[in-house]
Amino acid sequence: MENVGFILNGKNISVEIDDGELLIETLRDRLNIKSVKHGCGIGECGTCTVLVDNLPVYSCLTLTKSIEGKSVLTVEGIDLTGFKKSFLEKGAVQCGFCTPGMILSAYSLFLKNKNPSRDEIKEAISGNLCRCTGYNQIIEAIEDVCKG
């Protein structure tokens, strides 16, 4: 076991981990961040997406030790008011398993681009699979969040 320190949702934390631990394990099992879902485990489905230094990455392929000193953001750390309203209104949530990852990918896009085009939204969520909605509702919901 050893200690690793990083910023989780704006707060400095230090947590004891196993050496080869993956970020998804640390977040879910040690820090009780359950919004981060375990899907494929091989970087294809995107449901384990978190932001590291504001960029989306797959936490199932990120060694916790490698994020020492960096900033990690999950949906627990962002204001969800606009997302909740738009995702509900547009029917962008069915089973909900992909939703936290989708929101984080969209949030990362907004940090760089306040008024993204539909294509830019599609591109931003292209690493997040949804098997329920067919994506249109999600894209529309993200467009709505931008409009406010």
């Binding site: 080869g20 993956l22 375990h38 091989i42 970087g43 997406t49 931003a124 292209s126 690493g127």
Partner: protein, 268 residues
């Protein structure tokens, strides 16, 4: 439920520290973005006592140019390279990197990892071959440049430090045939460059065990006159110099031939 990674993780901050670590340990693997390696470790019995993460080593994150070359540090992520205006004008490379995986994969995966993993379908290699790319291989007391035309084979205690390619101008592009638009591994890929808008260069991926500069094809289409059948024969000569016939070629060869003929016609 999770596939565990059991190795000890070492994260050197400098090259000196890295080589000092490498001289003391065995059964280790160098790891950068981990988007290929961690999947292999999770899915197979590849077991290493140590994973040496080289992402914090600044010397490996250089992106620069001189009169002849662009230099790209091995651990730069695809996103970091794409954001840098230095690769503007090298469309084949830009489009190839842009086609990799997803935003998440591009934020994690590195160009050095793509080269060392050396998948037949590696997106970065065909465009780099167009520009006569070379890789810099370093060890504690040595460094050398090697052509990327052959698969990079690191010896004991060596690492890939950077890749450089010639600043050859001219129209270029990268074409990837996959099962879907994003998050896909190329079934077939093709990069081309018309050097100074005169001399053709071509390279293919996912046809041969390692991506291939298509020299026979280049020789034919740089002649003043050639026929379609000469082009087709040259393509086959290139491909079959490195592999025998494969069942997938029933599909891939006609597609490759059509792509090349179309590129030649559109850019006469």
């Amino acid at each position: 439920m999770y596939a565990k990674v059991k190795s000890k993780i070492l994260i050197p901050a400098t090259l000196d520290e890295l080589f000092s670590i490498m001289s003391k340990i065995s059964n280790y693997k160098i790891i950068a973005g981990g988007t290929d390696l961690l999947i292999k470790i999770k899915q197979s019995n590849e077991k290493y006592d140590y994973l040496v993460n080289i992402l914090r080593i600044k010397e490996l994150k250089n992106l620069s140019e001189d009169n002849n070359y662009i230099y790209i540090g091995a651990t730069l992520t695809f996103s970091e390279i794409l954001e840098n205006p230095i690769i503007n004008g090298f469309e084949a490379l830009y489009n190839a990197l842009k086609s990799i995986g997803s935003p998440q994969i591009r934020n994690m995966g590195t160009i050095g990892g793509n080269i060392i993993n050396a998948s037949p379908a590696a997106d970065s290699i065909p465009p780099l071959l167009l520009y006569d790319a070379e890789v810099k291989i370093i060890s504690n007391n040595n460094s050398r440049w090697e052509s990327l035309n052959k698969k990079v084979n690191l010896k004991e205690k060596e690492i890939l430090a950077e890749v450089r390619f010639k600043k050859i101008t001219g129209k270029s592009d990268y074409i990837k045939i996959g099962k879907r638009k994003v998050m896909t591994i190329a079934r077939l890929n093709l990069a081309y460059l018309k050097e100074n808008n005169k001399q053709w260069r071509f390279s293919s991926g996912a046809m041969t065990p390692y991506p291939l500069r298509m020299k026979n094809l280049e020789n034919i289409c740089n002649l003043k006159n050639y026929s379609d059948s000469e082009i087709f024969k040259a393509i086959e000569d290139d491909i079959f110099s490195k592999t025998s016939y494969r069942p997938s070629f029933d599909y891939k060869l006609p597609v490759l031939k059509d792509l090349i003929i179309n590129i030649l016609r559109e850019n006469q």
